[in-house]
């Protein structure tokens, strides 16, 4: 499940109207919304509006870690762009881990699992 956090001022109506399967749309001003997101765990909260809260595969070590993240989609006008925004977060952390790993190798440290 993924959560699309929006406001009700009309700016995201196109995305709401074409909500893909597997998404739930939540108005951030609804009193229940913060609790729903906080209840997902992983220290997740609503950080941006519009945003998508989804479980992403974050590579901080060789073994990816699945975490709930709130990702800004303010620049997205369709769901392909939203998916790209989510993928970018994972991709950039992958790149960061590769740099990190190379640094450890260069300095003679074993790579942890």
């Amino acid at each position: 499940m993924k959560y699309f956090i929006h406001d009700h001022y009309g700016g995201q109506q196109g995305l709401i109207d074409s909500l893909p399967e597997g998404y739930t749309a939540l108005d951030y001003e609804h009193p229940d919304t913060p609790g729903i997101i906080e209840g997902l765990g992983d220290g997740a909260n609503i950080a941006c509006i519009p945003g998508v809260v989804a479980q992403l595969s974050m590579k901080y070590t060789n073994t990816p870690q699945i975490e709930w993240k709130c990702v800004s989609v303010s620049h997205c006008s369709n769901w392909d762009e939203v998916e790209s925004a989510l993928t970018l977060v994972e991709t950039e952390q992958d790149q960061a881990w590769e740099l990190h790993k190379q640094f450890l190798i260069d300095n003679g440290y074993p790579i942890p699992d």
């Binding site: 909260n45 993240k69 709130c70 950039e92 450890l104 942890p112």
Partner: protein
């Protein structure tokens, strides 16, 4: 300058009290003159003239254009000092005149942390692109009251202008957080979203805790990023809660290979818009980064080799991180491109509070109102000349509330995101603040 304390049940009522009568400027004929001076003034029609508050020919000769200052109580609670600027008549700010620079001085004093900035427009307000309205210093809050319509196509920002009202560190004075009743319906709570809790790890991997949100409130700051490369027991600093005058700050980050660390209070962001969490006192393979706040925490270089210019164990301003979010800038950094260089603004600043009330329509198609938390540049910084390690937490979002007096409230919705979590071992995101449009 007129000194007037104001006692009101709501901020709307206070603005109306202060605005009415503010146009009756004091006569500038007072003082001691000799007969020659008096004759000259009288013969040129300048003696005992009551100038309107926005008279350009006289205002330009003043050090500022403020017409009122004093203390404010809202619903019986002390809401700090205020400075009020009054503009009589319609005001259009566009790129065809020179008002932009002048208005910065007209609207905002240099009173930091202890004062709110109030602006009363006795007419219509029309802001064109690319005019920017932003106080030069931190304010308790900024409030515009517009007796006519409000057309907004420029930029109004309270990013980095949240008050450090803690009375500690670089704060200019303590003001207790209070509930701020706006119009009898909406009230900004004294305490905003909770800060992200300290992030604890006892095994390989990463942990972050984002800042929380609050109804009608500011966002809490995020914890630092806590990364254990191989083994160890480590803790990253907590974010601080948002308040009615500021988004929360971020806690310090932590990154180790096998070492453990002990956390103390200074590693957490300080309350009431105070300092960001300071970096840990000891480092090992990686450095440690402070969180955002007033001021932002510095970084401490790593103890390992291959860290370029960073001196091990020495705190210094954060490099490459903590930028004001700039999502609309087509030339912003992308991917792993780093932000502004070392010593540039670091993680200083928390999101502030902006409120606008207009009795007429609220419109505008290209305008933007922002009060966003400070975030990290999306840049990975482990080796080379970087020693940031696990990054400090981002700041919570601020408040942007627009109140319109008619059913036409189609102007831009304020953007109040918390600082984002960088994708590269970044500190936790700040919680979103409140950005909304309501009926006056």
């Amino acid at each position: 300058m007129i000194i007037q304390n104001v006692y009101s049940s709501t901020l709307k009522e206070a603005m109306q009290k202060l605005g009415k009568g503010a146009s009756v400027a004091e006569s500038r004929g007072g003082g001691r003159y000799n007969l020659k001076d008096l004759y000259k003034l009288d013969s040129t029609g300048k003696w005992d003239v009551k100038y309107p508050a926005n008279d350009m020919t006289t205002q330009r000769t003043l050090s500022n254009g403020f017409v009122k200052t004093g203390k404010m109580w809202l619903n019986g609670n002390y809401a700090g000092h205020y400075d009020l600027a009054y503009w009589n008549g319609n005001l259009t700010i566009n790129d065809d005149n020179e008002l932009g620079a002048f208005l910065d001085n007209f609207m905002f004093t240099g009173n930091t942390d202890t004062h709110s900035a109030l602006v009363y427009i006795n007419g219509n307000l029309d802001i064109h692109y690319p005019c920017i309205i932003k106080p030069r210093v931190r304010k308790l809050f900024t409030c515009f009251y517009i007796a006519g319509s409000f057309t907004h196509n420029g930029l109004i920002s309270m990013t980095d202008r949240g008050a450090n009202h803690s009375g500690t560190g670089n704060s200019h004075g303590y003001t207790a957080p209070i509930a701020i009743p706006i119009n009898g319906t909406i009230t900004i709570p004294a305490v905003g979203g909770a800060g992200g809790a300290r992030a604890i790890r006892t095994s390989s991997g990463s942990t972050v805790n984002a800042g929380g949100t609050a109804t009608y409130g500011t966002g809490g700051g995020g914890s630092g990023h806590n990364h254990v490369s191989s083994s160890g027991s480590t803790t990253a600093g907590a974010g601080s809660a948002g308040t009615c005058f500021s988004g929360g700050g971020g806690g310090c980050g932590s990154m180790t290979y096998t070492a453990s660390n002990t956390i103390v209070a200074e590693n957490d962001a300080q309350s009431n818009g105070g300092a960001g969490g300071k970096p840990h006192a000891t480092v090992n393979l990686y450095g440690t980064s402070g969180g955002s706040g007033n001021p932002g925490g510095m970084i401490r270089g790593a103890a390992g080799s291959g860290f370029g210019d960073n001196t091990a164990g020495v705190r210094q301003p954060s490099n490459g991180g903590f930028m004001e979010q700039n999502g609309i800038d087509p030339y912003k950094g992308v991917g792993t491109e780093r932000g502004p260089g070392r010593y540039v603004d670091a993680g200083n600043g928390t999101a502030g509070v902006f409120i606008a009330m207009c009795e007429g329509d609220y419109t505008g198609s290209t305008g933007r109102i922002e009060s966003r938390g400070k975030n990290h540049g999306n840049y990975h910084e482990i080796g080379g000349n970087g020693a940031g390690g696990g990054r400090g937490g981002a700041g919570g979002g601020g408040i942007g509330m627009i109140f319109g007096g008619t059913a036409t409230r189609t102007g831009p919705t304020p953007v109040i995101d918390g600082g984002a979590q960088g994708n590269n071992f970044g500190g936790a995101a700040g919680g979103a603040g409140t950005g909304a449009i309501y009926a006056l």
